[in-house]
Symmetry: D3
Subunit: 158 residues, 6 copies
């Protein structure tokens, strides 16, 4: 598994090798993230917004939304610029393994685990393939907080 900076998620289907991996930069999670994410999602679950109930819960503290962790992880590797990755159209086997609390710092590792050629082209004649990535989100202690596979549609160099 060779560790290239942010490269694999910028590769064309043909250039990508199974095992290509990238480790993203990091993001520290704060209370402001919880408040903003609750607001945009409308998910005001007490584990995120009620310090008293959260203290009394299995986790003993307020935690970030799981879908915030998922979304912020995407923010760590999705390129804003048009490139070979055309879409993230699916996700499998997501498990939230450890809670992410206020002050935790997360990062993600992506590893290309499966390539499937799709023998069709889009309306622009661009060939496409599907790449399945194993994603592992870890915290500042190197502990796994979330694990899942994402399915991306990747363009061919043609």
């Amino acid at each position: 598994m060779n560790d290239t900076p942010i490269h694999p998620f910028r590769s064309y289907f043909e250039d990508l090798k199974i095992g290509d991996s990238l480790l993203t930069h990091r993001r520290t999670v704060g209370e402001a993230d919880i408040v903003a994410f609750g607001g945009i999602s409308g998910d005001y679950f007490y584990m995120h917004f009620d310090e008293i109930a959260a203290k009394d819960s299995q986790f003993g503290k307020r935690i970030a939304h799981g879908y915030f962790v998922l979304s912020a992880a995407a923010g760590l590797f999705v390129s804003p610029a048009p490139g070979p990755v055309l879409a993230n159209y699916g996700l499998d086997a997501l498990r939230f393994i450890k809670p992410v609390g206020i002050g935790d710092t997360i990062r993600a590792r992506l590893t290309a685990k499966r390539k499937t050629d799709r023998n069709r082209k889009d309306d622009k004649g661009v060939g496409q393939g599907v790449v399945a990535w194993d994603v592992e989100v870890t915290n500042q202690h190197g502990e796994l907080v979330a694990s899942y596979d994402i399915l991306t549609l990747v363009a061919k160099r043609s």
Copy 2:
């Protein structure tokens, strides 16, 4: 499949029957949602923020983040108040089937599809079970935009 208002997602493990279903209220998606979600996630993918590139893409317009659809759907059924549902700890087989554009209105249907007793209690002596829900998010035309299963940890009445 009997359609009870928002009830099933408020039920204790014992009371929930396979097939119990709920149809949530709706939410209209706007450009402000895309901007806010891009900001909180850090996901500035061009399909969300670049009208020119989006117009030139397979979808022909800017679309909402898939994880926004997922998160906003959760906001439609997650109860803010402490209740039997203790956590949403996993998600399987998420597929984004149709894009959600500016002005679309989404809602979700949840259906209890599997119950698994966990023969253990938490440190407060509360028995728990796992409930798998089938979630279907649809738009104002009744078209399926996203489909997935969520795994929730649900308390027993004891």
Copy 3:
């Protein structure tokens, strides 16, 4: 005064009894709430944004906007789904009794205090009545932070 979960604010005019009451779940107020509320309202009063002036003030610290407390309290009991409550069209006798600071956790108690039949129907033939609710917002110490009455337009079952 019988304490039903979130029920009374979901009742039709005929079903609601004077004295029906509900105690909402809680919300912890953070600095992010002050920043976000100042931003959306445009109310940058120094008691919210200037730690130095706030320390030197009667309260000795930055406090949340009173209208944030009012708005967040509404967020604790307003149902997102269409139901019998058609509108909150008025408010009387609002008094901010104690400041809400960063880290405080608030909740609200609503009690139906007055019902007034309106002998008219809306254009859909739905009969309506006015319900006046006494609202008390308290903090984690059970201290009253705000008190007011709200006037809601409530549909009849017909």
Copy 4:
């Protein structure tokens, strides 16, 4: 009633005359305000977020939160800088008279209607009085959208 720019809300108790009035600048309300206010308040009432249900309602369209109108109006006249107005501690007789929709532009007129001397000083020896203001919020058509009285604690000049 003499119309001074933003002056009266910057006056010391002694200098303020009953009938002093100010007309604020304006603010145009957009969908982004509704989304942001729903998020910060947690009030996701369908009249604000569900275009389909809102179209089918008495108002025929999505409308801004009443408390947003109240909060945005305060943002039009509250001074961010420390001054004679020490606090807005109460509000009476708030009525939402006309809905504020996307694209409407609001402004507020404040008129000093009552002065009450409080024969006490704060711990800094600053004398204080209570000023009751009549507030009228109007839209771009000059129609009254909200009306209420606010109670402010105002410092004396020395």
Copy 5:
């Protein structure tokens, strides 16, 4: 240099004297500002979002975006109401001298340093001049954090 409250930035071109100065009220910077500014700008530089990398940097901690400091300073002196200042169309010699960290409180001093008559009127026949302001942003210790000149287009009295 005579210190008038917020007056100079509300003066007509003819009334403004070189050396007229104002010291704004203050704003305390919090983590929520960093999160919100990163989101709206899309600038997720690690000095703002990665506590681990920031601790290991020259500054030893997360810091606010420089452009947030610039923007928040403007928020301290820009009048929301239409007035003589028509636009801030340029900026020169901006230097970020000291970082602004979480919990710091900033304020700005503006001093009129140059007036240039523009012998033309806009399409409404309003005469205009250019005023160059020296801006100094300081923190709670009176340390200079940013320094720059802004160029404003200011209306003549008639």
Copy 6:
């Protein structure tokens, strides 16, 4: 002037050549950006928030904050990951040439225009140089909307 993707802003001081240039991806500006930027900055200037006054102004419509354009442009080229660019510590000769309105799409071109070796190392023994970049922000019509130089501190490869 050779057009490399996003590369120059990721180069070490020694590797960067005068004339190296990059053209960023694009961002479409919406009303939500104006609302969010006004909120975070506290800059509620009527050209951004008052449609009536803005229509009556020189520009004839609401426009985005100049500092939003500056900040969003930075978001188009600043790398979130630690790299050779250590800081953007200064800016010169900023001119807002054309307003950016709702629906406009902006992008930026950076061109390295000056390199200055600083014969000192930071406390980690990393050599540094200063790079001045010419930045031009254009809209969807290729019109220049803002022009300025930024000064960055860039690490040497050593």
